[in-house]
């Protein structure tokens, strides 16, 4: 998978590239508007992560340029501005998703994966890891061919953890993934704890006890 990260903040750009490289993505980076146009013109990517505030021009302009040029890449906007109009303009111009800073890398990764899945995997929508099978269109989890019934929230947690498999995902990232970017919702970490507890119990009942691990006080991880 090839990814282009267009973001002017070098430190943040490096974090994104690091995270995705560890997941076997091939990453290119651009720090300015011109650099972004140049790289997007010369190569073909599976996904472009695009910041709006860029030196040399707005990311929205770049987006417009790419879409007029019939570039098929999936594009995810990352922006510090959480204005509804900007979000709508971005999506109208052909962006596939919009994420507000500050975001968790696990969330960005889940968005990119979901986008790639939507765009490039026609038909089958089933994730399989040895005995574990997750049907994304039917939202059914089976382990050893035994179905495990999950609540909506438990399913979301599981999918998020599986997408970020073999990585520690912080409780905060899970909370934000499920409950959105609602203001002042810090109490939601407690819900994450109870959802994960239930999920763990259900997995254990079907014999997949050590699949889901708690990592000290930090968060959780699914080891596959």
């Amino acid at each position: 998978m090839k990814l282009l990260v267009i973001e002017d903040e070098a430190s943040l750009r490096r974090s994104i590239v690091d995270y995705f490289t560890q997941e076997d993505f091939l990453c290119e980076q651009a720090g300015t508007f011109q650099e972004g146009i140049q790289k997007a013109d010369n190569f073909q990517y599976d996904c472009i992560i695009l910041d709006i505030n860029l030196p040399g021009g707005s990311g929205l302009k770049l987006l417009d340029y790419l879409r007029k040029d019939k570039k098929p890449e999936g594009i995810i906007i990352i922006s510090a501005r959480d204005a509804v109009e900007e979000r709508i303009t971005g999506l109208d111009l052909g962006a596939d998703d919009y994420l507000t800073k500050p975001f968790h890398l696990s969330e960005l990764y889940a968005r990119v994966k979901a986008l790639i899945r939507r765009k490039y995997t026609a038909g089958s929508n089933i994730m399989e890891f040895e005995k574990l099978q997750l049907d994304l269109s039917l939202k059914i989890l089976t382990y050893n061919s035994l179905p495990i019934s999950l609540t909506k929230n438990e399913y979301e947690v599981l999918l998020f953890l599986i997408t970020n498999k073999n990585r520690v995902v912080s409780r905060q990232a899970i909370a934000e993934h499920i409950y959105g970017e609602q203001a002042d919702n810090l109490a939601s970490f407690d819900f994450v704890y109870s959802h994960v507890k239930n999920l763990k119990r259900k997995l254990k009942e079907k014999g997949a006890g050590d699949l889901l691990q708690a990592v000290y006080g930090l968060g959780y991880k699914i080891v596959i």
Partner: protein
């Protein structure tokens, strides 16, 4: 007790004007009386001169007396008759060795009648004057103070958030009011500028803080995945992550507050509040394992025209507040009607001044899981849409009422 300008003015006039007029009348009467006696004396002495002259020319033919006019007697004939109703003047004269006494008379009745008539007329004129002055004063002060009342009305409407633009007329035709309006104009300009600067500062600061927060967050996400992480390090990272997320939450809330202040939620739609509150309650029941015992009365079809994002923040913050600041085994009563939303919840009394409840960063307890901005968001949203917000605490129960007063 305060009275209106017109009332005050009237009261002064009605107190002092009659006193002044009364004193004037007394003075007038005294003067009138003085002048009339003076005139009587003059007339009497003139009559004396004329009659004595006539007597000198012809002492024999002139009658010794005419009633009501004069009387001449020889000195030895002492007989003094004083007719009532007449003023008289007596003088001694001598002619050819004889002494005469001449008394002249004029009637006083006519004079006193005249004095009374003039005085009555004057009183009538004074009363007329009093009425006219009060009436004219009323009319003219209404007209005079017109610009002042206009200014008053404009400043009443002035609100630094919702109605910051008042342009007061500085050509009222009255110098003082022109000055007043000029001063008020520049005052509101200064207030508006200070307010704009302040809210822009908050918004810019919040935006600038987003980027470093994003960097810290991304580095923490990488750090917690470093191989060979020790438990102590993990503990530290967990604390840092939590603090950083709290900072992000706070910053987001501050940004929303700044945006409300900057009127950046202009888009409005028709919102089905009944459905929204039903949905929020369902979500929170799902989120909280320890959701308090809920009794709800939700009227169907309650609608508001407002910004959907803000209205959702408003109601979800109120419901969340009732859950978070509850006691174990507590309850929540929620009642929604077309005109108001009432949320009651059991809880401990506030440890702070209730009037500060809706102010920024005022937390009822040192709970690290709240940012202290939730209720100030509620307040700002209510203010934006002219909704009344009321808080009371009684019988171990917090009550928050939101009255929808949509224009």
């Amino acid at each position: 007790m305060s009275k209106t300008l017109a009332q005050k003015n009237n009261r002064y006039l009605l107190t002092w004007l009659p006193i002044v007029l009364l004193l004037g009348s007394v003075l007038f009467f005294v003067m009138l009386d003085h002048h009339s006696s003076h005139m009587q004396e003059k007339q009497l002495s003139l009559k004396q001169q004329n009659i004595w002259k006539a007597f000198l020319q012809n002492p024999e033919s002139l009658p010794g007396k005419i009633d009501g006019e004069y009387r001449i007697t020889k000195n030895d004939e002492q007989s003094l008759d004083t007719a009532s109703g007449y003023a008289h003047l007596t003088k001694q004269y001598s002619l050819y060795g004889n002494n005469y006494q001449l008394t002249t008379y004029i009637p006083t009745k006519e004079y006193s009648h005249l004095v009374i008539k003039v005085f009555a007329t004057e009183l009538f004129v004074f009363i007329l004057l009093l009425i006219a002055i009060v009436f004219l004063n009323k009319k003219s002060s209404l007209k005079l103070w017109q610009p002042f009342y206009k200014t008053l009305e404009s400043t009443r409407v002035y609100d630094v958030v919702n109605e910051p633009f008042i342009q007061l007329n500085n050509e009222t035709g009255i110098t003082e009011f022109n000055q007043l309006n000029n001063e008020l104009n520049s005052l509101t300009d200064k207030v508006n500028l200070a307010y704009t600067n302040q809210k822009q500062f908050v918004e810019n600061a919040s935006h600038e803080i987003q980027t470093p927060l994003a960097i810290i967050r991304s580095k923490l996400d990488l750090l917690i995945n470093e191989p060979g992480l020790k438990e102590t390090t993990a503990g530290l990272l967990a604390d840092i992550t939590e603090a950083n997320d709290r900072l992000s939450q706070m910053n987001k809330s501050l940004l929303i507050l700044a945006k409300i202040d900057n009127n950046q939620f202009p888009e409005k739609t028709d919102i089905d509040v009944s459905a929204l509150i039903g949905k929020l309650l369902a979500t929170y029941k799902d989120h909280y394992d320890n959701f308090p015992k809920l009794s709800e009365y939700i009227e169907t079809g309650v609608h508001l025209i407002a910004n959907p994002a803000l209205i959702e923040i408003l109601f979800s913050n109120l419901i969340k507040n009732a859950v978070i600041h509850n006691i174990s085994g507590g309850f929540i009563n929620l009642q929604l009607t077309a005109s108001q939303l009432i949320i009651e919840n059991s809880g401990l009394p506030l440890t702070m001044d209730p009037s500060l409840l809706f102010e920024r960063f005022n937390k009822g307890n040192a709970d690290s899981k709240t940012t202290g901005l939730g209720l100030s968001l509620v307040k700002q949203i209510c203010r934006l849409y002219y909704m009344d917000l009321e808080y009371t605490f009684a019988n171990q129960m917090h009550t928050i009422k939101v009255n929808f007063k949509q224009a």
